[in-house]
Symmetry: C3
Subunit: 428 residues, 3 copies
């Protein structure tokens, strides 16, 4: 439970808001590189942290991210001409480079100095791991890119998609770090996992632990970059079964995976207060994804739901009640909804676009959620006092994996899972 | 004419508003029983008096009406599992019975006492006359169900449908108690009634009275449960023709019917400030509806307009100008709009969702409307002072019919119509 | 650049706003006569300066423009019966003539005097040049109709259409008086004009001037009725090329045309703060439009864009990104958008419905825009002090044309273009 004021603090991300400033102190992924497939290709509309922007790839391949409106008379840059290292407004021909400099102003007298006084808002970008990232902060010193493992492995180790979510980033992210819902939302009435299909092999023994034991105990360990979350279930006389999740500021959750299987990272990026991106990345730390895995991700529609063609919007969505099948719900699938991501979406979009956390009733299973809220709020408060989050200055801290393993009872979970929780193989 | 403030008082029905409280002191019909056709069937979204709720029929057939959101983290109960005498949230498995008690909380430790502290908002319901009714008030003592005749007769005496109206309940209800508009809105240019068709026989003599005499005089008699409204027209040297309407708090109007024909009751229930339900019930007090009547109601589309399949929304509606046919309007039908209900809807939806009554110019024909507004406002004011409306504690007062009859001039109308205005045949 | 307050002053046009009052002191065109094709035809919904109205043509052919709502209980007059010299509300039969007088009130007692106290809001109208005009002001003395040439020539000299624009009138009109954007927005990458096609002949020499010289110098001359705007480009040793635009209060722009070709007038009429009408009229001052011209206007879709059938909305519009063709944009057309009007629309609708002019950066090319804003604001301020704009009392001042001509360098532009800038041939 949060007060109405604290809830506002946590959820508002527009320009000038404390939480918006916190997000602006990190690199944020906002497009796939393939959405700007070649130099001088059509620009793309971007809405990020409540700001309307336009992204374009200029003649040399660099990506610009600039204000959606020309500073002259606010004409839309989206309709601009992407030509010769800059985006040119079609209203009067003003042209801007990726740094936001006005490099041509053909409608003013040649002797005019006006061009040199004009700047369009522009944010630095980088490309890494098939994603385009922006830094929207005010600091001169750029943050470090996070050394997340899926950004370091060869491209053929990874598979990614993204989904537009009609809800505030935070209630979506709370689902990611909530290890107890998997035993319900993603299960079947006869205690199977609904996220399977497509031939990816999971250990029946391990799945049985987390599906059948529905009330794990939670242990959290805060660190500079975020939170390590252990959900403990009894696995026999001598061992416990642990699902260990890694959450990193400001929006990364590495979901517990069985050793040997691809690992999943969910990224939450605020579009504005009431919408957010869900970028979903699977990667194998040791080898390229095999055909079975790629087929499961691309064609089966369970790990990665089907999209409306031409949109980053799932076919099963709020407007059609996520295509719930009530007969399936009675017999085969706890929710009657097909894809795991869409099952989650039905929950957090169904709360309304911004949940009123003053009405919640949290239990012990919400330990990690409570803690992540605290971390984000504390980071934003520190930033208001001038303290840049150390995670933004240290990309190495993001080299992590998650784990879904058995550990002897007499061994502490972080210690017992140590070799599975870091990603030291790949470096920069 | 009302002041802007009084208009607000009259029209606002959300939680905490005086008029909302008045509605909350009565039983309110909100679903047909057939919308929850069997135990453990899919739940149904309900919006009532500005509150978002979910209705479900549990394993023993009882209907629950609970908050749309789980008290845990506000996940949507609509997607819940209706199983074993309760509705279970699919996010973390919390389960609630029809009283709102949390009867299972499987994601918390077994030793936990948390479950016993959790309650979901739940309203009592009853089923009567094919309708499901809710009591949304705070009083411990339940109101009495109104002994409306259509709730007492055998089921095959009745026919009902409902329509979603994009307007505040009050301006819709004002049409129900407005006996003078029938001579215009529901007439033809050559003075016929447009509500006919399908073979139901009406007295030409009586219809002629109310179609041709367009300016009746109004007489009203207030009583504990509402208002008796007489519209008088001259019917010859010795007799007057009277259309006598019964209005009952908070939202029932029994429309004048010829003796021997089925009687109509319009019920207005606020969905929220800007939308309302129109529940429309025809019943015959003495016998089952015959085939002619059923066919006229089900298939002719005049007394009961055609619906968009799968919705309680008329095919002819605001978005398509009620399918007005301007050529028909010139020659055959005063409005060019087919169904009587839709003719009404065109009027009160066309006013805007909440009419600004400070701009009205009321005449003598608006006598009943003025009086009903006063009654509702007085009842709400009394309730604010702690006085529960006596109608809510006395169901017997609702045993009424309406009438459309000739009465000798020397006899007072209530006296002259006495035998037709009460429904003593059917009891509980 | 304007302050936020001045921008509000300039753009708000609802009842009681200063700029709204200014518009209300002139005759405003709001419908084509053909939209009310015959006596007693169906009424038409009109929204003008933020007021909801209904227009109807009564039995004698006169056009009424009255409040959208009946003064009785605010029922919608749009569904009314247009019969025997008045529009009759179908709810209770109240009937109003074009002056707004209540001429029948059949639901009240015959002896009642109520009818004579009732008036519906009604505005005077006139028909001229195939358009219906309204005067929405409070003054008893009517303004003079503007003697715009296209209102004076025979009907077969003219061609007109109109388009609903999702933007405030002012940012649309700013495009009309902005002579420098034509060299960009309406050009091709190889310096041709995109507004051609359909066989209308333009001088290559002149087009080349304004397409290739993209930074003309601006000269403005204010007069009682508006602004004369000259855009000067060098045309050789001894002559300059001038595009001379005439802007008239409150919303007429006569666009520069080559002598001998049809002339274009763009009219901007505020629907409300966030929408406006673009009425676009071509006329030939000397002769009927020929077949080539009519075909170019009706069928080619460049000077007059294609409409959605049954609507005054262009097929290429905001919801489909104006059907931009990015490949065309690269090679054949500066914008990739087909029609000139739609190219403009993409710009000013893309700014948002009301541009925030405090964020602009204006240059010397914006001279005319700055001046027209000043004139409108000054006129509105004077009107607040009781001074009716003299243009509203002198229709003769509107007898003007525009020009696109070469003038010897030693001759002042208004002097040099004199014979082309006035329209003395046609009188009243």
């Amino acid at each position: 439970m949060l007060s109405v004021e604290t809830n506002e603090y946590l959820t508002r991300v527009g320009p000038g808001t404390p939480m918006g400033q916190l997000f602006r102190s990190f690199w944020l992924p906002f497009l796939f590189s393939k959405e700007l497939p070649e130099p001088d290709c059509p620009p793309v509309r971007v809405r990020l942290l409540g700001e309307d922007l336009v992204a374009f790839r200029e003649t040399n391949g660099k990506v610009g991210l600039i204000d959606a409106h020309c500073p002259h008379r606010l004409a839309p840059m989206f309709f601009g001409r992407n030509e010769e290292c800059g985006l040119r407004c079609v209203y009067h021909g003003w042209k801007f480079d990726t740094e936001g400099k006005c490099v041509d102003m053909p409608n003013e007298p040649e002797r005019s100095n006006f061009k040199h006084k004009i700047q369009i808002k522009a944010y630095p970008t980088v490309e890494r791991g098939g994603l385009i990232w922006a830094y929207m902060g005010a600091e001169n010193e750029l943050p470090e890119m996070p050394d997340l493992e899926f950004l370091l492995v060869p491209e053929n180790h990874t598979y990614a998609s993204k989904f537009m979510v009609e809800a505030n980033y935070m209630q979506a992210m709370e689902g990611d770090i909530d290890s107890s819902h998997v035993s319900f939302l993603h299960s079947t009435p006869d205690n199977k996992f609904t996220g399977g299909g497509g031939g990816i092999v999971r250990s029946d023994r391990l799945v049985k632990f987390w599906i059948e034991n529905k009330n794990p105990e939670f242990f959290v360990k805060e660190h500079d970059h975020g939170l390590l979350i252990g959900a403990r279930r009894n696995a026999g006389e001598d061992t416990n079964f642990w699902r260990i999740t890694h959450w990193f500021a400001p929006g990364y959750t590495i979901v517990p995976a069985e050793v040997g299987n691809p690992i999943l990272c969910n990224i939450r990026v605020p579009i504005d207060d009431e919408q957010s991106w869900h970028i979903r990345i699977m990667w194998h730390p040791e080898r390229p994804l095999n055909e079975t895995e790629l087929n499961a991700f691309q064609n089966v529609g369970v790990m990665f739901p089907e999209l409306i063609p031409g949109q980053w919007k799932t076919k099963a969505n709020k407007s059609n009640d996520y295509l719930i099948d009530r007969e399936e719900q009675k017999t085969k699938n706890y929710t009657g909804i097909k894809a795991v991501t869409v099952q989650d979406m039905a929950m957090f979009e169904g709360m309304g676009t911004i949940i009123d956390r003053s009405k919640e009733h949290l239990g012990t299973s919400d330990t990690a959620i409570i803690q992540v809220r605290r971390i984000l709020i504390r980071m934003a408060e520190n930033l208001e006092k001038g303290k840049i989050p150390s995670a933004a200055r240290n990309g190495k801290g993001y080299k992590a994996r998650s784990a879904s393993i058995e550990i002897p009872k007499n061994i502490e979970f972080e210690e017992g899972a140590k070799e599975y929780l870091t990603a030291q193989k790949w470096g920069l």
